[in-house]
């Protein structure tokens, strides 16, 4: 399957910070949703900033639709829709004002589609954004991002801080969007339940490095957590462990293939795991 976004050995550092994005690489196939997960400060926004050209990368390559993304790649950026974690528009503007400007900025701006999203999300067109609730501003951002027919949607914590109803509305729109096999989404979030619901792939970033980039189903059906006692833990081959974490009466061990582990260690309980638990074990556990 052809990749819609290909990030290769991307590196970015800041003068006033120790944080560094370390040679990160991942790809998003067409027609899929990539969940981009990591704790606050892990490097999600920096990665997205480099993809969108708001941050200047130190090294590496970012290819969108097979073409290198540069400042002059206007056509490439026309095919990208962006939603940030909060309102980006000046608050005195109305959706009608926004549409009036966007039609000159995006070659494919579709005012009819924008109006339909306003209706769908019940957003008053003539009211100033400052009168909107947080959920409404995020819905407006989604409407703006989708109304120019992008092929790649980049969402930087777009669902954070929203109530479950609004989150669900927005996630449904994202699922609709990827019904077209040519469209893809990079969904950065630390709300792992959202990712479990919609993502096809999960890329996990921690302290500026990619820990894994894997199909969600592989994580869901292959990964497992062994709940061990100390005596059981001591018998586990270290090459079978991705990470482990000691609790008071139990040691949790993350394994990449729970069926193989079940055969090899028949006396140990092995549970299904969630993205959140995988994240916690990889970040807080011992590797």
């Amino acid at each position: 399957m052809c990749a819609i976004l290909e990030v290769k050995e991307l590196t970015k550092s800041y003068e006033k910070s120790d944080f560094r994005l370390n040679n990160i690489s991942f790809t998003i196939p067409r027609g899929t949703i990539m969940g981009f997960v990591g704790e606050n400060g892990a490097g999600k926004t920096t990665t997205i900033g480099c993809i969108l050209n708001t941050l200047i990368k130190d090294r590496g390559s970012i290819k969108i639709f097979g073409k290198e993304m540069t400042d002059t790649s206007i056509e490439l950026r026309s095919d990208i829709g962006v939603v940030y974690d909060s309102n980006v528009f000046p608050e005195h503007l109305t959706p009608a004002n926004i549409a009036a400007g966007m039609r000159y900025i995006h070659a494919n701006w579709d005012n009819g589609l924008f109006q339909e999203y306003l209706l769908k999300f019940k957003l008053p067109e003539k009211k100033k954004i400052k009168t909107y609730s947080r959920g409404m501003t995020m819905k407006l951002a989604v409407a703006v991002a989708l109304a120019h027919h992008p092929k790649l949607l980049i969402l930087d914590e777009a669902t954070s801080g929203l109530d479950p109803i609004v989150r669900d509305d927005i996630l449904d729109v994202f699922l609709d969007f990827v019904q077209d096999d040519n469209n893809s989404i990079l969904l950065s979030s630390h709300i792992t339940s959202d990712l479990e619901k919609v993502a096809d792939y999960i890329t996990f970033i921690h302290e500026g490095s990619i820990i894994f980039s894997e199909k969600k189903d592989v994580l869901k059906y292959n990964y497992g957590v062994m709940r061990c006692k100390q005596s059981q833990f001591e018998k586990i081959d270290s090459s079978d462990m991705l990470a482990y974490r000691k609790h008071d009466y139990q040691i949790d061990v993350l394994v990449a293939d729970k069926e193989v582990a079940a055969k090899k260690y028949p006396n140990v309980i092995i549970d299904h795991t969630s993205i959140e638990e995988i994240m916690l074990l990889l970040v807080k556990g011992v590797k």
Partner: protein
């Protein structure tokens, strides 16, 4: 879903629409103040009122536009603009053109009322109308020098988060330079209007150099 796709690509026009909505309220207030000043000028023929009219009418609009452009007030909006299909250099061009336009927009207004005032009150100035119009035009030097200094400084690491303080300092410098040129002009016995023309020429040079520098800085900036 129905499609109503447009193909008019002119990102700077789109940004100007946002800018217009951002500043129209404040510009109307400036316009109202100018009308009050102009009326007072016509009634009284007081040169001090003329100076205030020229100052507010010419320096007011670029100041309002500068505030409406966002910067520190709307950092996320600035970041969002960079992510849109617009080259960074085009964004700088849009900023400088908007500011230049805002700096010149008040000149005809002030010039018209000055000319009327000159006809109504013979002793409005000690000099002739042409010199008065040159002096009016030279007021543009203040916003051009101010913006010419401010825009590149605000684009450096040193200027991050200090836009308000920088604006004040740049305004003082921009006000002082034409004043200094005027004082030196009088001392040197230059013909009336010549110091104003020198200020005008200098401000245009500063503005153009500033444009080139800001373009270079903007191309390497993180937002």
């Amino acid at each position: 879903m129905m499609s109503n796709t447009t193909k008019n690509m002119s990102p700077q026009k789109g940004l100007l629409i946002y800018l217009f909505h951002s500043v129209i309220g404040s510009l109307l207030i400036v316009l109202l103040i100018c009308f009050v000043m102009a009326t007072a000028l016509l009634i009284t023929g007081n040169p001090l009122v003329y100076s205030l009219l020229a100052g507010i009418g010419i320096i007011g609009p670029p100041y309002v536009v500068l505030m409406g452009m966002g910067g520190s007030k709307y950092p996320k909006w600035e970041r969002f603009q960079i992510s849109m299909p617009i080259k960074r250099s085009d964004l700088v061009t849009y900023q400088y053109l908007s500011m230049a336009l805002a700096s010149t927009v008040g000149i005809p207004f002030v010039a018209i009322f000055t000319a009327i005032g000159y006809r109504m009150h013979e002793r409005l100035f000690d000099y002739n109308l042409v010199t008065a119009l040159i002096n009016i035009s030279a007021h543009i030097a203040v916003p051009l020098i101010m913006l010419g200094l401010l825009l590149p400084l605000a684009s450096t690491k040193m200027g991050e988060g200090k836009e308000e303080g920088l604006t004040f300092v740049c305004f003082l410098v921009a006000f002082a330079i034409p004043l200094l040129i005027s004082v030196v002009g009088v001392r040197l016995g230059l013909k009336e209007g010549i110091p104003a023309l020198i200020s005008l020429a200098l401000s245009v040079i500063i503005y153009l150099v500033s444009y080139v520098i800001t373009k270079g800085l903007y191309s390497k900036m993180d937002f």
